[in-house]
């Protein structure tokens, strides 16, 4: 049972968590500041920021300037706000079990009219 025995050990695996936080990326693709923990690698943020900046740049070159991008994945939302120096990027993991009405806005009655 030598080979078979080695094959059948089960590992307990924890699914990777998606990064949650924000960062500022410059036009040159440098991360100027971020709120992520050290566990989130810089190349990942630079990768995300790079795609975001190229999307903004290409939109401008195509004559469709944008000041905000929202990218919805199954498990993550990327919100990017364009600035003069680059972009502010927010990463928000999404739960498959959350059901939020898409265009709900929170309206609070004014208490001091």
């Amino acid at each position: 049972m030598g080979i078979i025995g080695k094959l059948f050990k089960r590992q307990i695996l924890v699914p990777k968590k998606l990064p949650a936080g924000s960062f500022v990326i410059s036009r040159r693709g440098e991360i100027l500041v971020s709120t992520f923990t050290l566990g989130v690698s810089q190349p990942v943020l630079i990768g995300i920021g790079g795609v975001v900046m190229r999307a903004f740049t290409r939109a401008e070159e195509s004559g469709v300037p944008l000041h905000q991008l929202e990218v919805y994945y199954g498990a993550l939302r990327v919100t990017a706000k364009r600035t003069r120096v680059g972009a502010i990027v927010f990463l928000t993991p999404q739960s498959a079990f959350e059901k939020k009405p898409e265009s709900e806005t929170t309206t609070i009655p004014r208490s001091h009219d």
Binding site: Q11, K16, V51, S62, L66, L69, E70, G74, S103
Partner: protein, 357 residues
């Protein structure tokens, strides 16, 4: 087997003991493949660059490049390689992410001999198949007509089982004569003509399990000739239908613009490069941007394992854009700038749903 046709498997796992165990098991398969091993993604890719690997078996939890990243690189650079994920991770979302990458098989690491036997059979079956972007998997570069002719000429008695995505069909042979066919609730010649019209899929030869009543009496040559003629006629009709379909699509887009307040244009970009657009003079300037963002964000999503790309919303001073990736291509809806950005996503989805219906 001639040496240069020897089948090759590449195994990727960071568990060296496991690698060696599976290597021995694969080498003992009836197809007697040559088995290469790697413990990390870059190493595996280097091997793929130099060796004609047929099947790539990959773990998901790896150092440096994780399994999903490796797989997306392999599917992109080596599309002819059959891919198998062998993992301890049991997660429905991961499984659907893996299959959405185009992986051939997702298998949880076997926990007993029976599971192991089934897994090895699947890998062996994949080794015998080749990947074609179209055509039939089973014999390289053969059309279904060729395969049927071969079965007839070699006086086969058996069942040719053909699968085309969710569809399945069977053709019965008896000493080289086609005696029956069955698919989608049809039998006989009708079923045969339907099966032969499929442009791609996979096939396998099965033994006859019981006597099959004869429903087809024509000789195979006549059957194939009639089927070829029917396909020609279908192609001619298809050209006319394409033109009509284009006009219908345009009308549909016009209808959408009329039905939604604030919509400026709708642009549908197909994977084959065809663009249908209404409401915009120069659709090409949007097409380039749409292509780029959809492609780059899809690749990014795979890299960071964020799941499938659902929508992209762009908010700008002149107009807002809602982009929804299609199976092949994308739909882009342009909205007037005073349509609130937070509503663009939901409205674009409604437009997409109307378009799809």
């Amino acid at each position: 087997m001639v040496k240069d046709q020897q089948l090759e498997i590449l195994l990727l796992d960071d568990d060296v003991d496991l690698l060696q165990s599976y290597k021995q098991l694969f080498e003992a398969l009836p197809n007697a493949p040559v088995v290469y091993t790697a413990t990390n993604g870059p190493q595996a890719i280097k091997i793929l660059e130099v060796e004609p690997i047929k099947v790539f078996v990959c773990d998901l939890m790896l150092p440096r490049m994780d399994g999903l990243q490796v797989l997306s690189v392999v599917k992109h650079r080596f599309p002819h390689v059959r891919t198998v994920v062998l993992t301890s991770v049991v997660d429905e979302e991961i499984r659907s992410r893996v299959y959405s990458l185009g992986v051939d098989l997702f298998w949880q690491k076997p926990s007993n001999e029976e599971e192991l036997r089934m897994f090895l059979e699947c890998v062996s079956s994949l080794l015998d198949q080749s990947v074609e972007t179209s055509g039939f998997r089973g014999v390289q570069n053969k059309s279904l007509v060729d395969i049927i002719q071969l079965e007839c000429l070699t006086q086969t008695t058996g069942i040719l089982k053909v699968t085309n995505g969710p569809l399945e069909g069977k053709i019965w042979f008896q000493q080289g004569e086609i005696i029956d066919a069955e698919t989608e609730g049809m039998f006989g010649e009708e079923a045969f003509k339907r099966i032969i019209s499929w442009k791609e899929g996979a096939f396998e030869i099965l033994p006859v399990d019981e006597a099959r009543p004869r429903r087809i009496r024509k000789a195979f040559n006549a059957l194939l000739l009639e089927a070829a003629q029917a396909l020609d006629e279908k192609n001619q009709v298809a050209s006319a239908e394409v033109a009509e379909a284009k006009q219908t699509a345009r009308n549909k887009l016009l209808e959408l613009i009329g039905d939604f307040n604030g919509i400026e244009f709708v642009l549908v970009q197909r994977g084959n490069g065809v663009v249908e657009a209404v409401g915009v003079d120069n659709p090409q300037r949007f097409v380039g941007w749409v292509n780029q963002v959809v492609t780059e964000f899809q690749v990014l999503g795979v890299q960071i394992q964020a799941g499938p790309l659902r929508e992209i919303v762009g908010v700008g001073p002149q107009r807002n854009l809602g982009v929804i990736p299609l199976e092949s291509g994308a739909i882009c809806v342009g909205w007037h700038f005073n349509v609130p950005g937070e509503e663009v996503r939901e409205l674009s989805r409604k437009v997409f749903a109307r378009w799809e219906s």
